[in-house]
Symmetry: C4
């Protein structure tokens, strides 16, 4: 019975809504400063200079959310139907997306504090991993459009896993700042993703299903 | 006259919007702490540890809202047209949805205070009850898709009522913490929902309308 | 040249988004109180009791926004195309909608202060008037679906004007609390709307265009 | 390979969402004042009088965002498909849109401070320039609907560039308040846009592609 399916257009509306709000909420962290002298150019400039890390974190996080949206959108375009497990993982993905502004705010306020990194990087890592896992789950559960040739599906999944692996490699120097265990963990996860990519090697001359 | 109907796609857009915002607003309650020493790892960790109840309440409430969205979406898929009474009850449902972040924030800030439970649990109970009532109303007013066999409709409504009954049973221990009257009320409501389920017993060999 | 038209589905998406956010933002005014003793039931109950006017203003304003959405949605269903002047008036309508949470917050915080009424009532009056004016403008500019019989269009417009007139009548006692000039103004506007209704009297046996 | 395209309806949903939220967030800056005497008409009126610049900035910025939405919507109607570079520039446009409420808040709080202008005007300038650049990019990359005659496309682009040029001319007096370099820069940019318009002069008797 194909009954417990979720209408794709409504899930997309929810996803687009959560992304749009998360992206706009990022900027709420950039606060209008309270000035002693309302007309003082020097004071306002000085106060806004302190807002630079927040602004940079805003722009970076906005672009990252945009990338995640793009990536999610590309994967959803390959999915024909959404069943309950895929929906549950998408919900967890959305929970991470709407948590992201908090991680970005922490990063913007305390850029030099390693704890901010300890929140920001794992949030991003989870976002990337969840996305790759969701596509693998959709593939496993037969939710992917059967008209798309398997070579293309596998190429998408390899791109997902490579993205995850490269992120964990890129995060290694930051992880090293937190501690040696973080660094080792980070490199192990990156290695695991590289290994996983082998599962999605394109079979030679795979006929389209 | 079939005139005073609401376009389903626009009501869905409103519902998806309210849900997306309520889900994203939940995290606004997780505040970035103000540190004395901006670089102190220990201080930031210590301050974030205090945010754990808030974070847990955020995740739980996000998942609950996701479940409510899923449930609402499943019922709406069975509804063919929306008339004014069904719209009015949907509006009341949305009012509860957008009130939910407040109840969740209260719960996250004061997890050990019984009053927070006294707000959180009834809000959830009302959400569940409203949803079940809305589907019963839609059924009563002929808004449900006549192509769906009655057995399936009745099964959906039994699931709705069982969900309500189980929620009130699960809430009983928490209700007991508030006082004996709450506990009795909670159990009576749960019983009432179990009794109501009998109204939607599938008639044997019901022909599809 | 029918070029400068706005795609209706995108304007609807914008309207639904602004309404969804305005409705959800209302509840942000209901603040989680700061307690001295985090476990004190009495203190939390006492603090929440002070939140009742805010809560009541929230629920009332939520319902009003829901009504405005419903009303707008009913009028938009009759409009076939949106041109620049209709869009401009819709934008002004949206500016009022997103200003509404501020008026509601003022009303919830200072329910006994006449100034709060002086903001809340005119905002509502402007919302109602804008809506009626927008439909009249769409009618005047030929944006209304020509397949709808004129009798039905005129009945909708009479309902719009009656709604405005009744609102200004209902607001008269509150206006009287502000001052005699407000009362007179309020009654004059109500009268003007009743007079305007005569313009939309259904012509006898109007043939459908 | 026409693969890396973005579904237009989903990008529109994201854009509409970001605009709706940015427009509604503008009003969050209009704060409900804290009164010493909750019933004092004089005190509340006095406090709200100070909110006038904020309110005026709110209305102006709401209308500007509405205009940007309208303009973006008109250009998107001419675009048939969205590829990665056009998406990237649209993302940057959205980052500016969601930054706009901060610039508006700064302007509303410190209308007499030249630094507020130094943030508000360049944000607007960047919004206008990005929009014109995005359409030029879409044109360059063959994303524009080939059924639209080139004369019409070129007219749209001339309107875009004229809009940018006129904005920088109109901003010149404000730029002069910041300093002579700003003024010169502003006039140079305006001139550059006027020169650029010549590139989009309609060729005589251009056949539709």
């Amino acid at each position: 019975m194909p009954e417990p399916l979720i209408a794709k257009h409504r899930l997309e509306a929810l996803v687009d809504g959560v992304f749009a709000i998360a992206m706009t909420i990022l900027v709420l962290e950039v606060k209008v400063p309270d000035l002693v002298d309302r007309r003082s150019t020097a004071e306002l400039l000085h106060r806004l200079q302190h807002a630079w890390p927040t602004l940079a974190a805003y722009l970076l996080s906005f672009c990252l959310l945009g990338l995640f949206w793009f990536w999610h959108h590309r994967l959803m375009a390959k999915i024909l139907r959404v069943d309950v497990p895929v929906f549950a993982l998408t919900l967890w993905f959305l929970a991470l997306v709407s948590f992201f502004p908090f991680a970005a705010a922490l990063m913007g306020r305390y850029p030099v504090n390693p704890v901010a990194l300890m929140i920001y990087l794992p949030t991003m890592g989870l976002l990337l991993t969840t996305q790759a896992a969701n596509f693998a789950l959709a593939l496993h559960r037969g939710c992917v459009d059967p008209d798309i040739p398997q070579a293309e599906i596998f190429a998408a999944q390899r791109r997902n896993l490579r993205g995850c692996a490269l992120f964990f490699l890129a995060a290694a120097p930051s992880a090293a700042r937190i501690g040696p265990i973080s660094l080792i963990l980070c490199l192990l996860v990156a290695g695991a993703f590289f290994l996983l990519m082998r599962r999605y090697r394109t079979p030679k001359a795979a006929p389209a299903a």
